[in-house]
Point group: C3
Chain length 139, copies 3
């Protein structure tokens, strides 16, 4: 269901660090938002040095943009963003001051996966059962 897009300058993150960050974001999201880890997507958008600016100057931030379904409790979302930001620094070694994590959302019915509109937060179990009953492998 969710998609996290991590934007950096090329060669900032090794293949190993990308895999580790993807695993950690997946674990955190799955745990906090009650979504099977099989539904968590993490992608890395690695740009040339002359394509990333902070303060109008070439820079090396780590920008993480996550999309989640609208309707998760506010405290849960605050915990989610805090843990993702903390993991980002811990895994990559990039200091917190250069890490920006933003969560955006839209209503679950505006997203389709495995051919079905996503469930509202809290309705995941019924949705997963229904998918299994239909024999659709929504992995």
């Amino acid at each position: 269901m969710p998609v996290y897009t991590c934007t950096t300058v090329q060669s900032t993150l090794s293949a190993g660090v990308k895999a580790q960050l993807a695993a950690e974001v997946t674990r955190i999201h799955s745990m906090i938002n009650h979504v099977p880890s099989t539904y968590v997507n993490v992608v890395f958008c690695e740009l040339p040095q002359d394509a990333v600016f902070t303060d109008g100057q070439p820079a090396q931030p780590l920008l993480i943009n996550g999309w989640v379904r609208t309707g998760h409790p506010e405290a849960q979302s605050s915990q989610l963003v805090a843990e993702v930001a903390s993991a980002a620094s811990r895994v990559t070694g990039i200091p917190a001051k250069r890490v920006l994590v933003v969560i955006q959302n839209s209503p679950a019915h505006l997203a389709i996966e495995g051919g079905r509109a996503l469930p509202d937060p809290g309705e995941e179990e019924a949705w997963l059962r229904e998918g299994a009953a239909e024999g659709s492998e929504v992995s």
Copy 2:
């Protein structure tokens, strides 16, 4: 007005399939949301194999993120996302279980095209007439 961003691993989609998917998404969006097809943008973000993860593992999903103006009727938006998701599998051959389509939105007045703020949903015709009268080619 809208922008659809399709993210995949490199070499997942041939040039021909990309063109076909762009054409199909454009047709569907134009028809359902009453926007001239000249205003529909579709871009492909194709990433290295080690930059795309599902469940913390390298994976080959098709992630489509669309931006539309806030205020379209809910049933219309549900139809839009369903038809885009269906077209994505049909055109690319990627099974539905690996296709995620997400629609996000923001208010029309927070977007500018052809030098003018976009019209709210339902106000497109007046907006287009006004643009033609000004002689601005907002193609």
Copy 3:
């Protein structure tokens, strides 16, 4: 705090033009939204020619997507998007009819920078003072 993502076909913008556009967007955002320029990120996503479509045809638009915190006054946001769009044409020479600027937003508490949740619009000064007091360099 904000992130602006500029999407074009490769080789549309020279390195110099990218730097100039990043500087101009940074200046405008900082001035209108009362955010120190050190917090403004601008990235360029430059795609192959066969990956960008308008009206289902290969095209060369300039698509700018900005993320800001929810809660800025409406008139301020309208001015922001207008000035960014105007600067985009002025700096790049791309006619307004091929420039689309979209601002999206989510609540400040869904974003973390320098290890701290972002302040709501209007609360920037207290947030910056608090950061300075903690000795965190949130540049």
